[in-house]
């Protein structure tokens, strides 16, 4: 019997469990293949909704479902903390002392925010005038604070890259502009966006486009700002090179790190607890029969649900190849596809990979769309809202999305050379 053990039942772990179950349906029924997934809790949160929750667009209960129910019944579900992976002996040790042995292990334990890594952030003002929105508790507390906010300086700060959904902080700025406009107090609120990057985004064309949008919406951009410490009582955010940003309300995207057990597992991760992973095959560096997917890896792709979806297609094939003794497919190209909420019922859509930056054009059908790329539209906003339904009903069950393949397609995109020619 072949044992496949999946660590984590978030977006990526759930998709993998369901895809592998479908691939090995017969073998699972006959007992030739066993699939096990492990997660520490039974609360699956639709994380993209955490962006909208602070603005009252969702209630906390709209975003949470039981984890186990998203996973096929044919898959064994163990609720327990993971203590470490011992690649040398092909075993996983759980917090309760149990040991699981595997033929293939897939690490899908995502990333966690670490506000304690920034001096002073957890001081007396934590969740009073300094908030995160990447956790359900943080987003809910921030909603209440925004409700009571009557004016002042709002600072949005990314402590350090990488973070999951790198566009979410920008979207937060756009939505805040809309929210305060609707409340009729936009003129009493100053919004600043402090980022360690040298622009609004990491890729040049999208960075320019998003930078313009921030300017249009009256959001001040502070670049190359590396947050060193926070004084919540005085309302001051300080960078390592001693610049200061004064705030009445701080929205922080804290440092991200991998799951703690990665650091306890010999050879598995880097200094931040991200799994050392081949960017194309998704095989972990530690040993041939260990793979990683989703936010847990150190590959230079966006940490996003859409990325986990594209990776899952390649990884499912590679698990099968490994078990058959075949060479792995280096098929993952870094493909990411993200809606960016820009407020006032509009959104922008970007589609990119390791090599190709987000380009304008139409998606998914060349010339037809219907969704325009890198340009605000109402349809893109509806796309973003529909994503919640698609998340539970298409993404997690591990289905392909019609017309959208794991690899980036250049069809329908306007290449930079054509763009300059047209101008």
């Amino acid at each position: 019997m072949k044992r496949i053990v999946i660590l984590g039942a978030g977006t990526a772990g759930t998709i993998m469990a369901n895809r592998l179950q479908r691939l090995y349906k017969r073998q699972v029924a006959t007992g030739d293949v066993a699939i096990t997934v492990v997660d520490q809790d039974d609360r699956h949160i639709y994380q993209p909704g955490l962006l909208m929750l602070p603005f009252g667009m969702y209630e906390p209960e709209d975003l949470v479902r039981p984890r186990q129910r998203q996973v096929s019944d044919a898959v064994e579900y163990i609720q327990a903390g993971i203590d470490r992976v011992d690649a040398a002996t092909d075993t996983v040790r759980l917090d309760d002392g149990r040991t699981l042995s595997y033929d293939v292990c897939i690490v899908a334990t995502g990333t966690q925010v670490a506000p304690e890594e920034t001096e002073g952030l957890l001081g007396p003002g934590w969740r009073k005038n300094a908030f995160d929105f990447y956790t359900l508790e943080g987003a809910t507390a921030l909603r209440d604070a925004l409700r009571d906010f009557e004016g002042g300086r709002l600072v949005i700060n990314i402590v350090e890259m990488p973070i999951k959904c790198p566009v979410a902080p920008l979207e937060f700025a756009f939505l805040a502009d809309w929210y305060f406009t609707q409340r009729g107090i936009r003129d009493k609120v100053e919004i600043a966006y402090a980022t360690p990057l040298d622009g609004a985004f990491t890729k040049p064309m999208a960075s320019r486009e998003l930078g313009h949008l921030l300017e249009e919406k009256g959001v001040q951009m502070v670049t190359e700002f590396n947050a060193g410490s926070v004084d919540t009582e005085a309302g001051i955010l300080r960078s390592w090179d001693e610049r200061e940003e004064r705030f009445d309300l701080l929205v922080t995207i804290p440092l991200h790190k991998g799951a703690d057990f990665v650091g306890r597992s010999p050879g598995l991760g880097d200094g931040m607890g991200f799994v050392l992973t081949d960017p194309h095959t998704l095989q972990a560096k530690v040993k041939a029969n260990v793979f990683a997917i989703g936010d847990a890896t150190n590959v230079p792709a966006s940490k996003a649900g859409s990325v986990a979806h594209f990776q899952a297609e390649v990884l499912t094939g590679n698990v099968q190849r490994l078990l058959r003794g075949e060479a792995l497919d280096p098929g993952f190209d870094g493909h990411a596809n993200c809606f960016i909420e820009t407020g006032f019922g509009k959104a922008l859509l970007i589609d990119f990979n390791y090599e190709t930056e987000p380009l304008p054009g139409r998606f998914p059908l060349p010339g037809v769309g219907p969704m325009p790329l890198l340009k605000e539209s109402r349809l893109n906003h509806l796309g973003k809202l529909a994503f919640r339904w698609a998340y539970w009903n298409v993404l997690l069950p591990g289905h392909d999305i019609p017309g959208i393949s794991a690899q980036l397609s250049l069809k329908g995109k306007v290449l930079p050379a054509t763009l300059t020619a047209a101008h």
């Binding site: 890259m161 230079p300 792709a301």
Partner: protein, 103 residues
Amino acid sequence: MTDLLTLDLDRDAEGFLQQPEQWNREIGIAIARECGIAEMTARHWQVCEFMRNTYLANGAAPSIRTLGKESGVTVKELYQLFPKGPAKLAAKIGGIPKPHGCI
């Protein structure tokens, strides 16, 4: 003294080497001078070499936080050694492409 202009180096618009194998210490010193660092001390080299070696081993440059934790130089000192942008400057001097802060 190495004159960067006489060498046929593949550099991007901001001056980052695109092919790490074109690099040597002399080139590193010349790039440092370009960036306003007149003297490369042992502490500077410790950081630049850590940066370069991590990139060559993992295909991705470490972040400031990782530098502070693993290079043996604290974040505070990193900013003293490389004012403004330690990660960017150390990457440039160490002869590797611009770190993208991963996206």
